[in-house]
Amino acid sequence: MKTKYFKQFLALVGLALMAVIFAGCSSTSKTSANAVTHITYWHVNAQTQGGATVDELVKEFNKTHKNIKVTAKYNPNMYKGLMQNLQSAQASGKVPDVTQVGWAYDNYFSSNFKYMTSTDAAKKFDGNDKFITDHFTTKTLSFAKDANKKLVGLPYSLSTPVLFVNKDLLKQYNIDVKSLDTWEGVQKAAKSINEQSGKYGLYIQEPGDTWAQQAIMLSNGADIQKNGKAAFASENGEGAYKLYQEMVTDKTALHTPWAQGMDSFVKGDVAMAFTTIAQASHIKKGASFNASAIIAPHFEGHKTTVPVGGSMLAITAQDATQQKAAWEFEKFMFKTSSSVTWSKGTGYLPPTKDALESKEFKDHVSENPMLVPAVNTLDKAIPWTSFPKNGLQAEQAMIDARDKILSGSDISSTLKSAQEKINAQQ
């Protein structure tokens, strides 16, 4: 008998403690009586990457919109970190209302999370989608569409890869900047610099994605995907990697993780760096040489084509009033003045037509000439490849192929096996 009571007692205490612990997890925020709608905005901008600008914009919005209160929440570890947090949020049922979604997560987001498409939001709350068509070009909108052609969110941060050059080094070793229009020219220049100085000629960014490598393949006329299937293991795709591998093998190009590679460029040990325009302010601040940027090179006989980088704003609010407030907030964020402030604070290009053509932005560009090639690349940009199924694993397969090739593996068979691996999962 004693043990029975004891067990019951234990169970009771256990339950009580559980209740206490879980009660702490589920504090819900409710709309207050005076009809102020609270919404949360999840972003990835650390204080050094435009976080202050986010706070500034949110503050201004809250000041001008008395019935909506936006709270911004920073998510560390960029879009990947935000996705991870969004998953736990979805599991606990407490999701943000407006969310920055990186392009690479386009299909993953649209097939796994509940959200309201921008087209639906515009039609429901404005009665038509004029806001979208007025502010964005068809091209820009295509970046934010998923495999089913649905507009997942509105393009918010745009970036393109550019070739940063150390003008002092180019001058010292008699390299004509015009010859850097093609990758063949870049290879020749890198070789010449390497032979004369022992320095590396080129660094191509190697983060946890193959964005830059895709740009090189695309600029040799290769396709990354065709009708939802991987298609990069083509003659042109191999050709692009062949040049890249040659340069790494003969030490004219540096092969190292991103942070170290950029560090070496900024210190003047590498003459050219192919990376995102978002690095411009870092280079401007750090470099003691005359740095400039030129448009992404292409291969002879082909045109420059690059995948766009950055993110979109998606509405993840579930409740109609909050969706409405979220849409209001998005519209505010796409106002010309907000877009330009955003661009100045982060180094991204503004997403709307009117902001790109505004005097304010043009003044900003003339003060920062490194932005010119990036703006000019926008009409050569295509959506970042996002495979309909298992997109993140597909990206990893491409990263693996890149790393294998740069360590000296056979290009043709490596690309083929990566392509087969991706297509087996589609």
Binding site: F6, M18, K80, Q87, A91, D263, Q393, D400, S407
Partner: protein, 292 residues
């Protein structure tokens, strides 16, 4: 009264018990459950795949590579974070008479820094092209190999970074252990003119065994977790998984690629390997010490 005595210990244990259940036991059981499914962490459906995830742990070449790397990490960590601090603490205790306190402080300072900060500083210092170390090498006529491109060298550098962090802590633990050995025994060996190395081998090491075993286990278990940070900050497992270990690879599968099933199978396998290691350790190392 009698009744109280029976219940009370359990009530005292209850808070810890509940916390352990919620944060350790249930997650491990759930991980075990997930390891039989193909799931991306949020999809409403989980596909049952039987033993497939476990078969992949051992047949997938990347997993094999990662498992091999893990053993390489363990060996290096054992040397750097256990054997070296042990030797140095023995030297400080028995061969150097002065400045013991100063050594303790100097060696301990790095463990106060965050490992992320340490990893970033080392990544800058050891940048093979433009870091200060590369500069010094160049000036003296050597070339610093590009360690970021070689899995083996990257592992060595990552272990050195954790060593920078862990060394002082392990050193102090071991030194404290040595300090608790009764002085009269040590003095007796001096009077009997027993050589120092014999004194250390036959008296000090056996008497300090319990602390040493604690540090040994800590080195392996905690060391593998510590290397996660520099891997994540510097190499992200590259070049081509060359510097990855099972913990980082589990993280990559679970939270970057959202292959929850594979990650769970890998985690459970790791858990079992450690369980076996611990069992062997308790059986053969700790068990024997009782007879000495």
């Amino acid at each position: 009264m009698h009744n109280n005595k029976k219940i009370l210990p359990f009530i005292y244990l209850l808070p810890t018990g509940i916390l352990l259940t919620i944060f350790m036991v249930i997650p491990i059981i759930y991980t075990f459950y997930l390891s039989f499914f193909d799931w991306n962490l949020i999809a409403p459906t989980k596909d049952f795949v039987g033993m497939r995830n476990y078969i992949e742990v051992f047949t997938d070449p990347v997993n094999q590579k990662v498992l091999m790397n893990t053993f390489f990490y363990i060996i290096l960590l054992l040397v750097l974070n256990f054997i070296v601090p042990y030797v140095i603490s023995l030297i400080v205790k028995f061969f150097i008479k002065r400045m013991q306190g100063a050594y303790k402080i100097i060696f301990f300072i790095p463990s106060l820094f965050s490992l992320v900060v340490g990893a970033m500083i080392f990544s800058w210092l050891l940048n093979p092209v433009s870091g200060p170390v590369a500069f010094l090498f160049r000036e003296s006529g050597f070339v610093l190999p590009n360690w970021t491109n070689s899995g083996g060298l990257a592992i060595v550098v990552i272990c050195l970074i954790t060593n920078w962090k862990v060394f002082g802590y392990n050193f102090i633990l071991l030194l404290t252990g040595l300090g608790s050995i009764p002085k009269n025994i040590v003095d007796a060996t001096t009077i009997d003119r027993i050589p120092k190395w014999r004194m250390i081998w036959n008296i000090v090491l056996p008497m300090n065994k319990s602390i040493a075993i604690y540090v040994l286990i800590l080195t392996i278990v905690q060391g593998l977790q510590y290397v996660f940070t520099p891997i994540n900050v510097i190499t992200t497992g590259g070049p081509y998984y060359g510097s990855s270990n099972v913990l980082y690879h589990t993280y990559l599968n679970a939270f970057v690629l959202y292959k929850t099933g594979n990650a769970s199978a890998l985690a459970i396998t790791t858990f079992l390997i450690f369980l076996v290691l611990l069992y062997l350790e308790i059986r053969f190392v700790e068990g024997r010490s009782r007879y000495e």
